[in-house]
């Protein structure tokens, strides 16, 4: 059974899926928590129940400015930084304040075409589990 996005809700296409989820290509990006919330859910349109919590990294990591490699920018059709929407995947923890964001593998979206990919940056520089808030 597939999930259809509500009309008007942007559908993102990951040509190569995501690492670990290579067959998951189509996702809806759904805002959660109301107008005040920076969080969204990336919800699979092919695999019911598969979803990821995402957040624009600038909300919790204002100094995070990853460089997107030329070949990635080209395959996503990005001509400038303004074409791109950046999201990072959140791993929820218990207690919730220990939740982390994956800064090593941000999701890069072409705002115009909705083409998306999870990019892998330099593991010497970024972590997959960066705490959202410091204790």
């Amino acid at each position: 059974m597939t999930v259809e996005p509500e009309p008007g809700m942007p559908e993102l296409v990951f040509d190569a899926g995501l690492p670990g989820f290579g067959d998951a290509h189509r996702f809806a990006l759904v805002r959660v928590g109301g107008d005040d919330s920076p969080f969204s859910v990336l919800r699979s349109l092919e695999d019911e129940g598969l979803e990821f919590v995402v957040v624009p990294p600038a909300v919790f990591f204002p100094d995070y400015e990853p460089e997107i490699a030329d070949d990635v920018a080209e395959s996503l059709g990005l001509h400038s930084a303004d074409d791109a929407l950046l999201l990072v995947i959140v791993t929820l923890a218990d207690p919730i304040a220990a939740s982390t964001a994956n800064l090593l593998g941000p999701v890069v979206v072409n705002r115009h075409t909705r083409s998306a990919a999870q990019v892998i940056l330099d593991p010497g520089r970024y972590q997959t589990r960066q705490p959202l808030v410091s204790r």
Binding site: P19, V59, T128
Partner: protein, 81 residues
Amino acid sequence: MLVLTRRANQSIVIGDNVVVTVLEVRGDQVRLGIRAPRSVSVHREEVFRELAEANRAAASPASGSLDSLLALRPPGGKPRM
């Protein structure tokens, strides 16, 4: 595992659409060029595995914990977008 030996500027074809070329061999490092369609991701193995593990850990959180997350605020108070 299929084992092939190549020199610099020789290539390997995988399936119909993936070509791996040895660009340069220098000391203990091999520089590889990969041509693949957009539907096929190509990554260094150790980082790919790390990312796959992180994605699996993050996938499909329980709805109760998502509600708790929404109460989390970034440092400085109101979230900026």
